[in-house]
Subunit: 695 residues, 2 copies
């Protein structure tokens, strides 16, 4: 472990490395971080602040600020994520209506806002007001009839195409990372991989703008996944303001996990669901501290979104509105979930009512279906097939696109169809055993809307393999806490069924497809291989490149660095004994030698490099030796060559290692890197090990 305290000069060893050199502790693009090392660096930083805080009041205040900075970052993320979500909602509303027409009194008003602010409209006719002009009314004198209809339709399509085209161009030209839902990449980043720019400000801007465009254009996609990406970009931005997070990739990932929770919180108005989604689906390292902070960020984000909501109602309850707003992008689902009252005008509710009915008008169970319901069934079946197909194609496009709402729509259609089927079966066959006990004639025993809700949950569960977070999101979304048992049953069943076809959810499948180096905690490694089968060098390969503790010259080291591209080198007592004393990072070796050559007198190419406490005994007139103990990790992680690979995989997963040295009876035999582990796992699963992207 390279100890940051040692590097940054806590002072018991006086050599030129007392001053930290730049870029220490950073990683290159497409590299993987060393969690243990990051954690250790943070503890060191924390320790230094604590000891300094006793020196003066100013230092004490600084230590308090440092301790609270985590909560401050969460507050900022919550505020920004909530604001962005609100802005996106408003912009989508406006642009969706822009496809139809424009508000003459103020062009930035959506149709609803335009007519709400108009005094000339009556309550019954809120949709129509003179200020709101359809494009045909503006462009041609004749504003009714078939040709106006065709013109409106044509302009509607043109606007939609424009939006979609603009979105694709923006993504392609400015921020290729803004496409897709972003969740697979965020999962990978949270597991410790570095993808520079993926969470950058440019991505944030382009993703926000294009998300508005694609949602308004009416494509079959949801804004939920992209909102998680947007929130993570916010998280990345704010963590760059605090050195505690900007300089520590491990701590930064804690912030990002919480930001993901805030993203789901505003996407669905489901703060608890957001925290659980981050825990179950997205995060890799999720300590309890992060759980609490996520909880706080999700709370602030939901609250902010609610506060800026221009369609807010005046109820005491803060979040009542949220059970409905998310559906405004998807009125279809809302309709499918709805129960049929007597006043419902939807075709789905075209039941044959008993004219002699004595019950109150709201409570009309157990009716035969009318012709409208039958034709709605056909339309639903067609729409289901069509929706599945276009969703598949849309999700493959290079635009911001989420899967949540389309999957739920598919499930809701299927569920509603099943629900209507069961309802009519029950109506026509009250005597069947399954209906006899609980579904007597006249009883309200089948609610097709509930079937739609359960279907939506089941479909989303099958796609993503969420369970607990799914149920919580569903009941935060619908307010249907009472349906927890059918929802839970649906979640468990859909997981079982989907797992029978393959253990991977959509996000894991995408990670594999893209070859991201993701060490999934869900994959169980059960093969019988040992560390010796995986470590490098293999039999017949050149021996391991090592440094010796006190017998190599600066030039030897530079040659070794030049001729290999390894990220680090084990340091041994001597080439003969091969007893391991530590591990030196390539990056730090380069920086240290460069620094020494520039700044330290007498360090030349044939100076001896030593990693021991005391310099080796050298013949007289030897050049000044170079001490590099400070960059030596004196506690490299080791396993024996007999260690089963399942244990090695477990260690890599749980401790977040980057590499691990393999020894036998204290002698160094080889090295296993995270890449080796991932390739071995791919090989064992009969996949192409070369598909894994990794530097």
């Amino acid at each position: 472990m390279v100890n940051a305290g040692d590097m940054n000069g806590s002072g018991n060893l006086m050599d030129f490395l007392d001053e930290p050199f730049p870029d220490v502790g950073t990683y290159e693009d497409f590299h993987t971080i060393d969690w243990l090392r990051e954690k250790s660096r943070d503890t060191d930083r924390h320790r230094k602040i604590t000891s300094k805080s006793k020196e003066s009041i100013w230092e004490f205040i600084k230590s308090l600020l440092d301790a609270w900075s985590g909560w401050v970052v969460m507050l900022l993320i919550g505020l920004l994520a909530g604001t962005l979500a609100g802005v996106i909602d408003l912009a989508v509303d406006w642009m969706t209506d822009l496809k139809e027409g424009v508000c003459l009194s103020a062009f930035w008003y959506s149709h609803e806002q335009c007519c709400w602010t108009s005094n000339e409209t009556t309550f019954d006719d809120r949709d129509k007001c003179p200020q709101w002009q359809k494009w045909s009314e503006l462009l041609v004198s004749q504003s009714e009839g078939a040709s106006a209809y065709i013109l409106n339709y044509f302009l509607y399509i043109m606007w939609a195409l424009c939006f979609a085209f603009l979105a694709v161009s923006l993504v392609r030209v400015f921020a290729p990372y803004a496409c897709g839902s972003g969740i697979p990449e965020i999962k990978t980043i949270l597991s410790g991989f570095i993808i520079r720019g993926y969470l950058g400000k440019w991505t944030l801007l382009i993703k926000t703008v294009t998300l508005v465009l694609v949602v308004s254009s009416g494509l079959s996609l949801g804004k939920e996944g992209p909102l998680v990406h947007v929130a993570c970009c916010c998280g990345n931005f704010f963590s760059s303001l605090f050195s505690k997070y900007s300089k520590n990739e491990g701590k930064r990932r804690e912030v990002l996990s919480a930001a993901a929770a805030a993203g789901v919180s505003v996407a669905f108005g489901a703060p608890i669901g957001g925290v659980l989604f981050s825990l179950e689906e997205v995060s890799y390292y999720f300590p309890l501290k992060t759980l609490w902070r996520s909880f706080f960020a999700a709370l602030v984000a939901a609250f902010t979104l609610r506060s800026i909501n221009p369609f807010g109602n005046s109820r005491l309850v803060l979040f009542y509105v949220e059970y409905h707003t998310p559906w405004s992008t998807s009125e279809l689902i809302s309709e499918l979930f709805n129960d049929c009252g007597a006043l419902e005008s939807s075709q789905l509710c075209d039941y044959i009512n008993d004219p002699n009915m004595t019950r109150p008008v709201d409570d009309i169970p157990d009716r035969p279906a009318g012709p409208g319901v039958y034709s709605a069934m056909w339309q639903l079946a067609l729409a289901l097939v069509f929706k599945i197909v276009i969703t598949i194609f849309t999700f493959g496009m290079k635009i911001p696109s989420g899967l949540f709402i389309p999957s739920m729509a598919v499930g809701a259609m299927a569920g509603r169809m099943v629900g209507i089927g069961v309802e009519q079966l029950a109506y026509h066959h009250h005597d069947w055993i399954i209906f006899r006990n609980w579904c007597r004639p006249g009883a309200d025993c089948v609610t097709p809307g509930l079937y739609a809700m359960v279907g939506a949950a089941a479909c989303l569960g099958g796609v993503t393999r969420m369970t607990v977070s799914l149920v919580v999101i569903m009941f935060e979304l619908t307010g249907g806490l009472e349906y927890i048992v059918p929802l839970m049953a649906a979640a468990v069943t859909s997981k079982w069924v989907a797992d029978a076809f393959g253990k991977e959810g959509i996000y894991e499948a995408h990670i594999h497809l893209n070859g991201y180096p993701f060490l999934d905690v869900k994959d169980e490694f059960t093969h019988r291989t040992l560390a010796t089968d995986v470590m490098r060098p293999r039999r017949g390969e050149a021996p391991l490149s090592v440094l010796t503790q006190d017998s190599m010259t600066v030039e030897d080291v530079e040659t070794l660095i030049k001729e290999t591209d390894y990220n680090g080198f084990p340091v041994v007592v001597s080439k003969d004994s091969e007893r391991l004393i530590g591990f030196a990072q390539r990056r730090e070796l380069i920086l240290a030698i460069k620094n020494a050559r520039q700044r330290q007198d007498g360090v030349v190419s044939n100076s001896i490099v030593y990693f021991t406490e005391d310099p080796p005994e050298l013949p007289p007139n030897s050049p000044h030796p170079l001490k590099l103990r400070r960059i030596l990790n004196l506690s490299p992680f080791t396993v024996t060559d007999h260690t089963p690979m399942e244990t090695v995989v477990d260690i890599f997963r749980k401790l977040g290692l980057r590499q691990c040295l393999v020894t036998r009876s204290g002698r160094l035999l080889g090295i296993i890197t995270k890449k080796d582990v991932l390739r071995h796992m791919a090989q064992m699963a009969n996949q192409d090990p070369e598909s894994i992207m990794f530097n």
Copy 2:
């Protein structure tokens, strides 16, 4: 790692250890388990079943059964835990009423059941029916007046005392482990500690019976914590039926984690809250697989409880009843949460109504308090102090007792008082800045019942430091999904405030108080010590007891075992080189030597014991050597002496190690056990390291 496959005879080495000997892989009481080893043993078992499953259809079916046994165990736990919770509820109902009187038509009926089944009662007078006789009516002819009242009161107290005395005696004589809530001990057990009998059948029986007694006696305690203990006993019982779980302490703990979730699920009727409680508060090792299984167990348990609930209602909604049933043990909380309608008779709702009111009778906001409210405030304040005091004393008693309901009652009282205060402040000072905007005269802006609910959540949060699970339990309990923001804010605030007084929740405090060896994931270790400061032997102590790979005799080994009480011994190449080759468990050494002496010819006291592949070269006429390679763990966990203790603590926590060897440059220096780590942490926190109970 002792590889179970090696021990159980996969066959490349032919020695007498081919047959497994009994008790291998078990642990002694008050010992800690080795998670890595348990995991490895399970993978091995799994691998064997998978390879066998290709041999015949029968083996294939067996492998399927094995794969599904986890879900079967969950189903059984859910069924039994739900049934027990239902039985406890019924029994508590009956026995609570038994303190008042008895049902003449059937003595096993509670007051409510007795009068429900009676035909002679009218709807208005459901509480009174001739079948239900108070004790005074049965015992003396005069059943009205002051003396009857005193007799009833006296008998009531006598019954309560009887119940409490019986409970204390039962616990003391039959199952001392049945006392308390059990959650601190379950946390400790789940972290890998062995406490034999704590989850035994006897504890299950006595805890169930005494729980009924103490709840019926009217003591200030809840049944929630004990129900978690009861559910874990069920879990332990069912896991003993499946060798997959009974023979593997690690797998058994996965079942117990899920059982804890089922326990909370039935205690509160909150299945999701139960899963989150298990995750946030109780469990130590909680992989996603366990999350899904917990979810299933919680679902089955809640469903079972609902199905056997004799007070079930006929609503379509399965769990509506649950928002109310938990309160039947605590009508006080229910009343405190309630809103005041016009028909409410409670003293808390004695508001002065406007006689000229034109609003509908249900909606009467913004009223001045009547004298009843003022006297209720005094009573609440007194009750609050009294409740706090008796709850503290009750929780210290040696009876089954939970803290949830009493803490919530305390919080609800305080919250209702604050709520009434704010309400009256708003009524009398509509012009104050804080009220001006949102609380105009006549508006319903303050709901004291909501304050009580938030107060209950805050108080419970402060006591246990739960956050996410707390909010979910609260809204599953009350159905108040709409109040998620105030509940979340209360949870976060109460956690902050409580943490300022000390980081430990009540369960962690109890663990420390009892000296259980619990390596808390929440504690951060930030001290600057190194492995070398903690390892044994210390400077000046006798050298580490080691075995050599091929130079000790059976007698030497037996002497070493006799003279020390270590749980295992490192095996080195030779005493001079001290190069580590593996680790041998004491228990397995004893068993192996005993077995060899009985069964293997030629093994005598001066036989050489060897751990290498091939026997050492021995002088002619030496006795037959004893090969013990099979019990040698060839991949013991090692760290270097320079490893920071924070990393060591992390490794122990995340990998669940029992011990770890310390080396420098490949030479064995010492050993660190979990006990050493815990003692070192206690020392660093200025606590007495000797207080930790550990064998």
